[in-house]
């Protein structure tokens, strides 16, 4: 048995992070010297190395079962003689996520090479996603909260750049700005949380903080507002949770994610479905010992998670845009993971994160193929009948959908099963099962409307190049088999067949088939029956309107401050009156200098008389 030295491990992680950085620089250089195809191979090579290194680290951490390790890279700065070191923290969680992120990133790089081939700023696109991959990997291997915050903001920046990739498109740049702003609001929560952690533990480093927590470190109370004192654990838990909610697009910060679909499709697959949005979930898993200090934060996670899961799943049921359905489905699935975190089922959440990354990436990528073939049509009412014309893509989408629903035997089942097992409150348990029913309905509705009904958009079917086929194929295989790791095999799924969730899945499929499987006769019947609910869902609970109202309010506030306080009160009234006072006083004194001799004489005589009078009085 051979031992891997700490330094070697540090070098491996450094190399792993260098590859995406090279992926930013080399294509720019390569674009001038090499042909497009060679640049493509270069990019694939770089990200393959990243992926292989990640797999190697995963092997070390899981199969060889190495202990978690904390590596210091360099000193970022120091606060009051306390050095803040940047470095790497490697354990099973980070190794798994490294593999997931680098693997999906590799596949989506390959996919994009065909998908974006006609794009004038082809290289810029790859610069951005390489930057994103770097930032996401950095986030995963950070060994302290400050570095995590760095990477956290960097992935936010990458997301901003990629949503607004087509910067002449007004809708896209607005969505990019919205995503950045909403994320910033929640990031402020995260930053404050990190600062409170530093205040309590005098460190940002995970290992140091966790050691202090295991030794029952004393936690002070914190006065959050004058007169309101709360225990530090609760404050930290809630603030970190706010940070996680923004990035993972949970209520009430979710509105940016559906809009972010204005970006290129591979971006939606990589960033806004598979990897970046799971950063919030990762954060909670990573700071698990800190979060566990506060039961309120855990309960908040359960409540927000279940609310998001059901509410956004319901919205997905009435959407007609293919990418929007997938976006709402992502939000809903993230809510599912959040519930698992609330019950401290961290490994279950991590499992669902991994599985979700795979099947959601697959759903997006195959949807991309359909959209391109239909000439950019995303409305599922206009798609349809593709099943017979294009069975291969139908098969892939079917696998992804069934895995997403959680049909026993497929990957999605195992992770959902783990989460359901962890839930010990019956009410939440049944709500989660209800959410599985909703998932079934919106997923099958999307599938049926896209592939079964007859009104067909003009679809040009061309044989797909390997750039597209390989990622689809790999992800499809993984969507089936990724669940069969460890003790889980295909046979362990048998108990799922006779359980309540599966019954609901079958019912959901049948109901959906009844309504959407047939050639579509406008589905007014349902929307008329449940009119109020339908209106609620179509308007997405009016979150957008509330946001607009808030923006208008702050603009109005700015206007008032500027026009009324700054220009009127400070400038006109206070400062101008000081000026006027000076001018008037000067004028008054000037007017006293009349220049007439008898005025002066009068004043002189009067003065002498007054003086004499005063002197006389003193005598």
């Amino acid at each position: 048995m051979f031992i891997i030295f700490t330094d070697t491990l540090k070098n491996i992680i450094s190399l792993l992070l260098t590859m995406p950085l090279l992926g930013i620089v080399l294509p720019i250089v390569g674009n001038r010297l090499l042909s497009r195809q060679k640049v493509n191979y270069l990019i694939i090579a770089l990200f393959s190395i990243t992926f292989i290194l990640a797999c190697y680290l995963l092997e070390i951490m899981t199969i060889k079962e190495r202990k978690a390790i904390d590596l210091t890279l360099y000193i970022w700065g120091n606060i009051a003689n306390k050095n803040l070191a940047f470095g790497f923290f490697l354990d099973k969680t980070s190794a798994i996520l490294l593999t997931v992120v680098s693997g999906i990133s590799l596949l989506i790089h390959i996919y994009s090479m065909h998908y974006m081939r006609d794009e004038p700023s082809y290289i810029r696109f790859f610069n951005y996603i390489a930057f994103f991959t770097f930032a996401m990997l950095l986030l995963v291997v950070s060994n302290n909260l400050l570095q995590l915050f760095f990477a956290w903001e960097m992935v936010g920046l990458a997301s901003y750049l990629l949503i607004g990739f087509w910067f002449t498109n007004d809708k896209a740049v607005k969505a990019a700005f919205k995503a950045f702003l909403i994320n910033r609001i929640s990031d402020v929560g995260l930053l404050l949380g990190i600062l409170v952690v530093f205040y309590c533990f005098h460190s940002f480093n995970y290992v140091e903080i966790f050691t202090l927590i295991y030794n029952n470190h004393y936690l002070p109370n914190i006065m959050i507002l004058p007169g309101i004192v709360l225990p530090a654990g609760m404050v930290i838990g809630i603030l970190l949770l706010i940070g996680a909610l923004g990035k993972s697009a949970q209520l009430p910060f979710h509105t940016w994610l559906p809009d972010s679909m204005a970006g290129p499709l591979p971006v939606s697959a990589l960033i806004h479905a598979a990897t970046m949005v799971t950063a919030g979930i990762f954060l909670i898993i990573r700071v698990m010992p800190i979060i566990e200090l506060s039961s309120i934060a855990l309960q908040a996670m359960i409540i927000i998670g279940i609310m998001t899961c059901i509410a956004m799943g319901l919205v997905a049921m009435v959407q007609y845009d293919l990418k929007q359905i997938l976006a709402y489905s992502t939000i809903s699935q993230l809510g599912f993971m959040l519930v698992a975190l609330g019950y401290s089922a961290y490994s279950a959440a991590l499992a669902h994160l991994t599985v979700h990354a795979i099947f959601k990436a697959l759903l997006f990528l195959s949807a991309g193929v359909v959209i391109v073939a239909a000439g950019g049509v995303q409305d599922i009412r206009k798609l349809g009948g593709l099943r017979k014309k294009w069975p291969s893509i139908y098969g892939i989408m079917l696998v992804a959908s069934l895995s997403a629903i959680g049909v026993p035997g497929l990957a999605g089942f195992y992770s959902k099963d783990l989460i359901l097992n962890a839930v010990h409150q019956p009410a939440i348990y049944y709500l989660l099962i209800f959410s599985i029913l909703i998932t079934t309905i919106y997923t099958m509705r999307m599938l049926f409307m896209t592939f079964y009904s007859k009104n067909t958009a003009i679809v040009s079917i061309k044989p797909l190049p390997w750039y597209i086929n390989v990622p689809l194929f790999v992800l499809a295989i993984l969507s089936i088999v990724i669940g069969w790791v460890g003790n889980h095999t295909f046979m362990t799924a048998l108990h799922g067949v006779i359980s309540l969730p599966f019954l609901l899945i079958i019912i959901g499929c049948l109901v959906t088939w009844f309504y959407y499987g047939q050639p579509l006769v406008e589905d007014y019947s349902l929307s008329n029956v449940f009119k109020p609910i339908y209106v609620l869902l179509v308007n997405k609970y009016w979150f957008e309107e509330i946001n607009h109202w808030l923006v208008k309010l702050s603009k109005l506030l700015g206007e008032c401050c500027y026009k009324f306080v700054d220009l009127l009160i400070i400038e006109k009234i206070i400062i101008n009156s000081a000026v006027t006072f000076t001018v008037r006083t000067a004028n008054f004194i000037r007017n006293m200098q009349t220049g007439y001799l008898y005025h002066y004489l009068l004043i002189m005589v009067g003065g002498v008389i007054l003086l004499l009078y005063w002197l006389l009085l003193r005598l």
Binding site: N78, I79, V173, L181
Partner: protein
């Protein structure tokens, strides 16, 4: 105090001033220089490069292991009154001098292609101002400081008044009167301190700034002195109720003037507070800290909202400066509240207090770099489109891709994105505020959200979307080499300091620690 064989600081102060004056005199005599603007520009560039290299040499040979003043120069001036020509720097002064030399270099290079009316006078004014600003940061003697401080107003007044925009006379007068009113109270305070020092009958009655700390002032005296000194520097910084000169001055000044005004002159306010307010009247600072903190947080929130609805690009950057300066005063004064949390005060405790001050200093330096670069970007846009209104711009990124990338970097630094130096200052100040009171930090973080709202929204309005005015497309050319060079240099510095603030903290550490020890009498 002793003579130093190399009077490098005097060189930094007087060399540009002498060059400026000589240029002015020569241009009176003959038109030779006037006719050859490229020669003039070369002379100015060489002069400023020399100053820049000198400042680099200062950084290189500066000993960071001590808090003591270095490169000391000392000549008796009015010895009977205890006034001397004394120069010397510590970590604080060094960082500001380096910033000054860098930003003036940027200003001269940015005007490389511009045709300026009466360019000799323009460059002379800037050269003289550069020397005076270095003098402010390098002087050890309070009266010398005051002389530089007042003299600096004249070239700035002329720059705004002669080369400014439409309402330049109004803006220049406003700037002058606001600052002069503050200066008077500072002068009164300094004279009072001078009398006090002379009463002490020191063996060697030197009117240096560090001697103020040895004065034993009563609480009442401190309170009066506090307001006197505060008013001078609060106007300069500017703090909330006395900020209204700044948007006008920034908007009307020429690009170079705006850069210097924002990058250096505002910093004199913070620097002055560090030198005169905190160590000299600590008891008054302690009792009035809550007022300053309240004003700072109010500035952050209130000015932030004002900035959101600005239509004029320069005015927007000016207002965002005020909001960022709010964090500086917060960082400086939050230490007094933080100390109240300690049950007892010892040397170890006191070391914790350096965070706020270091944060404030880095915030000033960062803001100098970032806002200097932002005004430069606005200047670049102005030379092409000749408008400051945001609504006149749309879809610039199509025609100026390099500019779009670098402008984005600077904008991201302005919103305090981690990885840029903008984050470091904000982070340290908010951390210090958090350690004092949670709700101070809660108020201060508003800037993180509001700055995104105004910076990125306006970036979007200017750079993205379809090109609306086709006529503009003709005049839009991408960056020239010197513009690219400047923005790249500033961008690289911003990013390096963002990822490695240890370098700058290392320079500041001992000086700040000494300052904090001084406040608490260790």
């Amino acid at each position: 105090m002793m003579w130093h064989s190399l009077s490098i600081l005097s060189c930094l102060v007087w060399f540009p001033i002498i060059v400026g004056v000589v240029l002015l005199l020569i241009s009176r005599q003959s038109n030779f220089i006037l006719s050859k603007t490229s020669l003039l520009k070369s002379i100015v560039m060489i002069c400023s490069s020399c100053c820049f290299l000198l400042s680099c040499w200062l950084i290189y040979s500066f000993d960071t292991s001590t808090w003591k003043y270095q490169f000391i120069e000392y000549i008796p001036w009015l010895p009977k009154l205890g006034i001397h020509y004394a120069l010397g720097i510590d970590g604080l002064a060094l960082s500001f001098i380096a910033l000054t030399c860098l930003m003036f270099f940027v200003v001269y290079l940015s005007a490389w292609r511009e045709n300026i009316n009466n360019s000799v006078a323009y460059y002379s004014a800037f050269l003289i101002m550069q020397g005076l600003l270095c003098g402010i940061f390098a002087s050890l003697d309070a009266i010398l400081f005051y002389v530089f401080y007042e003299a600096m107003l004249i070239p700035m007044f002329l720059i705004i008044g002669l080369w400014g925009g439409e309402r330049r006379i109004y803006a220049a007068l406003k700037f002058f009167i606001f600052t002069a009113v503050g200066s008077i109270t500072l002068l009164i305070a300094l004279i009072y301190l001078l009398c006090k020092l002379n009463q002490l009958e020191l063996v060697e009655p030197i009117f240096t700034i560090s001697n103020f700390q040895s004065l034993l002032l009563t609480c009442t005296e401190q309170k009066w002195l506090f307001w006197g000194i505060l008013l001078a520097f609060a106007v300069k910084l500017p703090m909330l109720p006395v900020h209204t000169w700044l948007p006008d001055a920034h908007t009307e000044a020429p690009t170079g003037g705006s850069i210097i005004l924002a990058a250096i002159i505002l910093k004199i306010g913070g620097y002055g507070m560090l030198r005169f307010l905190l160590p000299v009247v600590p008891a008054a600072c302690m009792s009035f800290a809550w007022i300053i903190i309240l004003l700072s947080i109010l500035a952050v929130i209130y000015i932030g909202f004002i900035t959101i609805m600005q239509q004029d690009l320069k005015r927007l950057v000016a207002y965002s400066s005020i909001a960022h300066m709010g964090l500086v005063t917060l960082g400086l004064f939050v230490i007094f509240i933080e100390a109240q949390n300690y049950t007892f005060i010892n040397k170890f405790n006191i070391q914790q207090l350096t965070t706020g001050i270091e944060g404030a200093i880095i915030q000033m330096l960062a803001h100098g770099l970032i806002v200097g670069a932002l005004f430069f970007c606005v200047g670049i846009l102005y030379t092409r489109v000749h408008s400051r209104m945001i609504s006149d711009y749309q879809g610039i990124a199509v025609y100026m891709p390099n500019f779009a990338a670098l402008f984005l970097l600077i904008s991201l630094a302005n919103i305090g994105l981690p990885g840029t130096v903008g984050f470091v200052g904000e982070f340290l100040v908010i951390l210090a505020a958090m350690q004092a009171r949670f709700y101070y930090a809660l108020g201060a973080v508003v800037i993180l959200v509001l700055s995104v709202a105004y910076t990125l929204w306006n970036y979007k309005q200017i750079m993205f979307g379809q090109v609306m005015h086709e006529r503009n497309a003709v005049t839009l050319y991408d960056l020239t080499w010197e513009e690219k060079f400047i923005l790249l240099c500033l961008g690289v510095i911003i990013v390096i300091l963002g990822f490695w603030p240890a370098s700058i903290l290392h320079v500041l550490r001992n000086s700040v620690e000494h300052l904090v020890f001084g406040i608490y009498g260790f």
